[in-house]
Symmetry: D3
Subunit: 223 residues, 6 copies
């Protein structure tokens, strides 16, 4: 899945922007609960720490729950953007209100929390599950049909005019769904990648004044 | 610190309620950044999993950032309450608006997020730091004086009528500060303990309908 | 009805907590309009004044409109909690969002106002009437069936995961409805009673700083 | 005070509009606490019931706490408007944001609640007390000077551009304060009177569909 | 259409209030898009400037999008009120929540924005289109039937108790629809006219302190 | 000024992105009131219409009031982004909360409205004027010093950690202010340009479903 995600990102970046896909070294195989998400965060942070040693300019957290975003911002010397964050902001430029179509119903609450946290609640008209597990999201016609129909129903139910894909694993379906439904379909992977590219171009990084300054050194118990 | 916290809890519970203090087996020595908090969560969840094997009736997460609360609710068969959550709700029963007095300034953002998440934003009139690190919070007169003065300033600046102590390590200072400032002072450790006790008495636990149902089994990579 | 309500409260309190049920000496036989509620308040306040002479430690206002709550807090030397207030806060510990099921449709507006006033609007996903008048709420199978079906419909319509019973007269139905629908069902009478018990255990009472201080003495015209 | 209030109202109504000032037959001499307000409501409702027998076209509730407004709407066949309600709405037509200047500090919480209830929170930039008791509000130069200075300070502190007078007893000071401070000063008594006049001219009254329909008949206990 | 609108206004004003209907000298024939609205504003402002030379006391902007309202307030020496603004505020005095019924679906977004801008979002339960273009709104039975049915459906769908007519061209249908549906029906033309009449009677005009002071003189390029 | 603005934009775009600066053919020389803004919109829309004939891929509206944004989205076949919109969204990726520093005090209200409209109210901690007219904004040391000090004061007063420059004319000062104050300083011109560049790279444009579809053809009166 990481390779596919990186491919989507590479397809949109400007000449000179290099995209490196990194799979977490430890953590759950997919994220479909608060528990999964909590246990995915240490792996994300480890990857950021490695990136810092390698001189990475900025980071995308490529899971729609944006796990570990605040902590990552404390660690990184460049900007960090989550794919839910970037997708929702991007959708707000394109219409009156968007619908999110995600995987399992139990992840909808997290998307609600994020929409509020990013100020995007007023644009987010509804969050819908297509009831496909993350690891079953392959870009085959059957899966895409289920996702497409969930998007169509969401537009109708919410009176929305934009779709946000609620999982990194849907990144490669966006164009076809957009063509079929005739509305903009926003994929967070590309949106976040270009947001990071733009922030780096402007020389902008997370503020060091206060909350997101590097964390104070600390003793750690290891279990 | 765990012993002191458990002592505060034991002082208020009803006959028949047993309080067990547990220190996380792994994680940071104290929590003063988003990074610390993220890394504390796996230890909290491990402790909940142990509690489940031991037949614990309900859980208090005794750090004012309420780390891992949503994930813990997925794991526990009884109720789980965070101390920030319980303190803020409790304060809302006692006046028009409360001020939170916490440790380091960089933790204030997390308290803002929690106040909103719990619906307590309308009662939370301000969040103030006394600039004492968590591990320097001992109940000696000098420390208490700094905290007390921060509380006094907060009441004045915010026009508030209740104080919420923003760190488990302040639990034992509440009574003296309340006497000195003549306002209710809410400590989250006791508030959360009694909230759990009440939920257990009513036979209430986290809903199993949807979001907080036990997480689906999953493969985990270990680093 | 008062006896039944007190019975529910007694069933959950800790050893040493005494519950006294008091029926208002004057006012409407039940509360199903803003007019009824307004006229019920003087009786509630009279009962609080009597309680103060009798050394009562804290008060529950056992009508889901929480009539007279602010005024009662000015009079009482111990804490005062309304059953709508306690039920909504309690429900927020148990899931993503709750549905309220109440008696007559015309009382729904008051519940909306209270949810907002307590900061619980974000958890309150819907308010539903079962169209049974307060005085027709007996715990017989027919009535309980109507209430249970209203709860079932509410969960479905709202996508909620917790039920709040919107009338003190429903207090004794909670357990059976919970068993049938497999979600937590919160009754405000028990929730408020235990909240008062907890506040008393922590030595907490309404702030005397400003708004809720004892009211200034005043001449009163009597009609 | 009633005579003075009615005089202010009469000064602005159109030819053909008759204003009748009514003092409550029972209740507190002035309203400066939640307790006072609660006990004032039955007298207000009694006056409405009398007005209905006398064929009154519409009603103004002339206390800035708008006591009994919802219940009054259930009783009256014509429109009912509170002076806080009318003043706040009127102020919203005149600038970016208003400051309320009221009597005692302990009444500010009620004004906050009303601003929210009427949707005027976004226009209400601050609520300020001039610390004069209601019955000490006479239109003499000393009192007016205190109120004027409180208004001046409020404009500065809040960055507001309109003043709302927070007590019916200030009705006759508006013009002079406006001249001195060069901002619009809104008095709720005249604003509410003209709002009722306009509603009557348009043939509009409180909706009978649901919540504000006449209250169901009920047995009443009298103490 | 201007003549019909002025007639509706004249029918409700007090003796001594003169109503002058003015059609914009330039701009679109009707307003059904953001583009139309933007291009209508210069004509509205030109009319205000003329009114100032003619000694007009106050202004109503008689299009439900309230085009140019903020700019008009900078120009006018008397009060300026929009019909959406007046209608929504007026509806808030009459019930728990209103539904707006407007012309084409694409104008609903503007109404949402205005409801929020005026603080009326909490009263505005829904906005509905009857899919009749503005210039096809004649008060004939067929058109009125479509509008009436849209109102009936809106009341049901929204659980509202008041109707707001979302176009000046519907002004003359209000009374019949109200009679048929038995709820208050608010027309913004009459509501705004009477609001201006009331503001003038109270001697109130837009604050000159800051934002709405006369605009600074400026060079203008003309295309 | 247009040349300077375009220069700033060109400095950050990717290879292959061409930036064309366009000055409105008619309208006010600068925008410092609602009146100015209203009269600037027709010129903006004319420029968009020309751009459409020239095959422009996307548009930036380079005034911090984002004049005509909704109407422009109806006209343009590519994305349209305002500089206030882009700056505020961008700032939200960089810290807990931003302060806006703008030109004249009377323009602050518009910025408040925009922050809310874009959902950025929760990040926007304050809006401050440096009291320099737009046409006096030259990048000389004296002017920059005034702006820098206004930014410094804003950070302190608001407890913010990011600065948003509230005027296109400040675009070239950002880097120096950022260096001096050690916080990220966001200029809307570059932010909006890169946002448009990213939207075009992703093939995203304004939704044609409903509100922002091309406006219906219409007769126009010309004055």
């Amino acid at each position: 899945m990481t390779a596919g995600i990186a491919e989507c990102a590479r397809a949109v970046v400007a000449p000179g922007t290099e995209v490196v896909g990194v799979t977490s070294e430890f953590g759950p195989a997919s994220i479909e609960s608060h528990y999964d998400e909590a246990l995915s965060v240490p792996g994300v942070l480890r990857a950021i720490e490695r990136g810092e040693h390698e001189g990475v300019s900025g980071y995308v957290i490529a899971c729609f729950g944006d796990p570990g975003l605040d902590a990552a911002r404390e660690l990184a010397s460049g900007p960090v953007v989550g794919i839910a964050e970037a997708a929702m902001h991007t959708a707000s430029f394109l219409g009156r209100g968007f619908s999110v179509v995600t995987t399992l119903g139990r992840t909808m609450g997290r998307a609600v929390d994020l929409a509020e946290h990013y100020g995007m609640q007023r644009f987010c008209r509804g969050i819908h599950a297509c009831d496909i597990a993350v690891l079953d999201l392959h870009d085959d016609p059957d899966v895409r049909k289920v996702v497409t129909e969930a998007c169509r129903d969401a537009l109708e139910a919410d009176g929305s005019d934009v779709i946000v894909l609620g999982c990194a694993g849907m990144a490669d379906m966006g164009a076809l769904i957009s063509t079929e439904l005739e509305v903009p379909v926003v994929d967070g992977v590309t949106a976040a990648t270009l947001t990071v590219q733009s922030l780096v171009a402007m020389g902008l990084r997370t503020s060091q004044r206060g909350e997101f300054a590097p964390p104070p050194p600390k003793d750690y118990l290891t279990g």
